[in-house]
Symmetry: D2
Subunit: 113 residues, 4 copies
């Protein structure tokens, strides 16, 4: 995330003295709760629903998920860009292109190919 975004999220937290509540377990709960609010946008929707119909709600809820991810990263001394980049490197091993191309199975199912 850009430094300005992170600083803005942390300033919001610290202006309100909310860091005291932000233990990793409750932050993980919060990420799940916001993820559910994002998923709720699509409850009963057809798979081909497009983003435009529900743009405002998607924007609002996705922002909440990422907001808590930034707070979790700060609580655990992590850099989100760094951990995502390293996870992609790891996934490049788990899902080699020659096995994964065009397939949606999890790597455990790809292993046999």
């Amino acid at each position: 995330m850009n430094k300005e975004t992170i600083d803005k999220v942390l300033k919001f937290r610290d202006d309100r003295n909310w860091k005291q509540f932000h233990n990793p377990k409750d932050l993980a709960i919060s990420i799940s709760l916001e993820a559910a609010e994002l998923l709720e946008v699509f409850q009963w929707s057809a798979e081909d629903v497009n983003c435009d119909d529900k743009k405002d709600k998607i924007v609002e809820e996705l922002a909440d998920v990422v907001n808590y991810c930034i707070l979790m990263a700060d609580a655990c001394g992590l850099d989100l860009d760094d951990i995502v980049s390293k996870k992609i490197d790891m996934n490049n091993e788990k899902y080699p292109v020659e096995k994964a191309y065009g397939c949606k199975e999890k790597y455990t199912e790809l292993k046999g190919r």
Copy 2:
């Protein structure tokens, strides 16, 4: 997110021709599933568990959540830094410092103060 991170995530997806599966509803489901895997790290843990005990798992699962957030943003033409920044602006209205300082209630509960 940094442009390099986003490009890396999208390249991983496109090398494998996986964009075809990435409709917003299934991406929202995926964010929820990864959020649950992160939460599972803390199942049965005391609230004062610190990040160090479970660092590797937290890193892995948090990266997966953010990875899908990047994919969701791309599917809906959104910029994560931009939407988070605007949400903070909105929250500054919902949770004014003078009402929210040191309190964990949701804004609906703060409204009466």
Copy 3:
């Protein structure tokens, strides 16, 4: 739930002396985690996927969700049949048939009709 089922679930817990871990917060987390494992069965699936294709996994994960609901009910002194029955009575008010027939909107959206 039938008394035999409930007794079986509680005996399993008590044989292993696991009640000590079953505070309501961690039980609520557990219900969420099992719900996510059930949802994972349908990740990337078309909406018209039918139960038969994935029967074994659905059975396994749905059983886990209900198992934790039974444990939560026991921890809070609740009867699942009783609370579900009363909720339906409440929902009969929220979603009157004349407004709700054939519509999938939440009651807040139905209120205006």
Copy 4:
């Protein structure tokens, strides 16, 4: 679940002609969403929060989770008491008392004992 409870849930659904929306994928999503609403009751709460403080909300949200489990079972031709009972039998193998007594690790972690 008692037959009266199940019949009441299904009648509520059928009076409103809502079965058309109840494909297994969306029901699984619904179970997750209701599980999140139950978990939200405990967001920021201490682990030793007891049920009485939050009884009404717990009752309401737990009822919603179970309501959707009943609907899922009906959609897939399952009996909740039956599948829970069989899952306990399976868990009796996975978590033998002599290995699991007083321990909260998952069975994969117990296997080495």
